[in-house]
Each structure stands twice: as C-alpha cells, then as structure tokens.
Amino acid sequence: MSSSDSGKLSQSREQNAQPLRSREMEFDQILQGAKNHDRGAWQMLVKEYSHRIYSYSLNFSGSRQFAEEATQEAFFRIFKSIDRIEANPKIFELYLYKTAKNICIDNYRKHKGEHIVEEQDFMIPKWDPDYATKELVWRALNSLPQEERNLMIMREIEGLSYEEIATMENIPLGTLKSRLNRIKIKLAEILQKLEKRG
C-alpha cells in the first residue's frame, strides 16, 4: 500500500466515521433497535463499527484468525450488555475499543505474551509491496509491553484523539501525552535496533 493510499484511507475513515457519528439521533434509534433485538439495527452496528475492533485486534495480535475471533467475541459481549450502553456514538465507539482491548489482553495473558503467529496467518500479506517495512514496524510495535502497545495502536493506528484515549483509559490528558511521547521514543529506538540487525 503506497503512501498516497494512506491519504485515501484517512479520508475513507472520515467518510465511514461520519454517517453515524454525526447523526446522533439516528444512532439513538439504531441503538434502541439493537436493544429490542432488531436484526436490521444490529446489521448496521456491525457494518459501521466492526472494522474498528478488527483493526485493533489485528494490530495487537498480528493474527488474522485471532482478530476475527476477537471481533466476534466483542460483538457477542456488546450484545449481552447492550441494555447498559449509552446512546452516544462516540462513547459507543470507545466502549468497542475497550472491549477489544480487554479481549486482546486476556488472550495475551493466556499465552503469557508468547502468542506465535503463523506466517500464513500474519496480518500483512506477503504480496503487499510495503511488506518489509510494515513487518519491521509491526515487530517493533509488538516488542512493546501490552499497555504501551495498546496506547500506540489507539493513537497512531486507529487515530483516536488524546482526549478520547484519556477518557477511555481514565488517565489525565497531560500524563497521557507525556507517556505517549516516551513510548514513541522507545519505539523509534526499537525500530533502529531491528533495522541494524537486518
């Protein structure tokens, strides 16, 4: 994927994000429908939000199979707790990410941080023209402890704002920013070491 596509990706994210995010009343109706077990409402929620969970889980684990299972599990959990969810699209989105994070960290602990990803299951396909660079960056990211990895994924990959992450993680904004700066410096160091190793 070339760098020119990243512009298109962020644009597409905005396009995907806008429909329900900006139309709060419509989201409210959809959520109410979901609470009444309306299948159409659930379909819309899945279509609108599933890629966030999938993307997060994929980047956290590196495994496509795990990411699929995590996404299904996340929606299952949301289904079970839908009555307690607030009718606010932004809060719902943060709730989704939090659910994805919990599933990923549970899995991480279950495998004691040594979850091996099979080559054919790896998140970046071999035919990707930027495979080598992406694989290197992902390996550097994967070297971080889980909490640091979580923050980097949410900020640098999923594009959440500092305020959103601070709310989700219940961290003061200033603390979050300085923590992220330290993690970025650390990540750059890891990347440099990996590059030198070849």
């Binding site: 994927m1 760098s3 596509d5 990243s6 990706l9 962020s10 597409s12 994210r13 995907n16 077990h37 299948r39 659930w42 379909q43 899945v46 279509k47 599933s50 890629h51 999938y54 993307s55 994929l58 980047n59 699929e68 996404t71 299904q72 929606f75 299952f76 289904f79 998140m123 970046i124 930027d130 660079t133 992406k134 960056v137 992902w138 550097a140 990211l141 980097m152 640098e156 990959i157 999923e158 594009g159 700066n181 970025k184 410096i185 990540l187 750059a188 160091e189 990347l191 440099q192 590059e195």
Partner: protein, 203 residues
Amino acid sequence: MQDIREEILLFMEEGRQKEAEALAAGSREATEFFEAQKLLNATLPELRVPLTPDSLLRKIEFRLIEETLKAEEEPTFAEKLRLWLRPMASLSLPLFLVGAGVLLILLKSNQSRVNYYAYKVKSHVVYLLDRASSAKDILVYLLDRASSAKDILVFFFDKNSDKVSETIIKKDKNVKKEEEKRWQVKSDKNPRVLLCSFPSYRA
C-alpha cells in the same frame, strides 16, 4: 539527548517537519531518531484496516442472529421469577410459619452461639459441643451443620448439674459406651457425624 528527541517529536506532531529535521541535523543519533520517527509516522497509520472482511461480517451477523433468537425464546427475568414462585405460593404460609418458629427458638436461646471443637475420630467427625443450652438449640444447629448425615447421636452436657444427658435423633447401635464420660466409635458403620459434649472440654 532525551530533550532533543522530545523537541523533534513535538515539531513533527505539529507538522513542522523542516524544523524537526534541522534540529536533528545537529547529531547523528538525533538524525537517526528523526528518520526512524518519520518511518513510524508514515507506516503506522497504514497498518489500520479500514474494512471488515465480508466473511467475518457474515459470521458476526450469523452469531448475532443466533443470540437474538435465543434471547427471544428465553423468558425474561420477571417471567422466570413468576415461574419459580408459582409452586412456592401454596407453601408460602407453612414455610413462613416454620421459618418464624425456628427464628423464635434461636432468639429464645440463652446462648447466642454454640461453641464446639471438631475432631476426626477414624473416618468420622466428632463435634464437641460446649454448654449447649437446650436440645432444641442442638437440633437446629445440627440440621444446619450436618444435614447430610444419616444417623446423628447427640449428647450434651449440663455443666451446672454435672450430668450427661442425651438426645437421640436417630439411634446409633454401634456406639459403645466405655466409660461414663467417654464415648468411642466402634466401627466404620457408625454415623457420619457424631456429636457429643464432654465435661472436661470447655470452649
């Protein structure tokens, strides 16, 4: 070095790439850091997946349909409670009376608790009850503690009169009285729980 890197980061965050590059040019390490950071900034957003695979969408939808159907068939909590309470309705008054009776017995008891020592005698548990005030107290206590026992032989000691008396819930023929103040379990066919009170043991 840490300060320069943080400054470089700040410039890059603010989109001031040229200033960041100029600052990094001061040292080799800073330049390497700048290049690594540039690579991260360019590559990390590309790791984001903008779309869910269709196959996964179908799997999720299918699973949610299953859960929706289950939820529609399952009775609500209110309905479950109503179903559970229905057979209880006819028993409610007698149950209330029994419960009230037990509560009265407990309240009337001079002792607020029954103290005991527990010993293992062969395969049985022997509870030594100290200063039980009445047979009724023992009975209530026993029923609570040893409800699975088949035969329970109960002795209690009235400390004031130095007398050993016994209340037999179910008689155990295998217990042999060897001496006045000591009882032994004779064989393994004895009751699973044997409760007795000895004057020499105090709480």
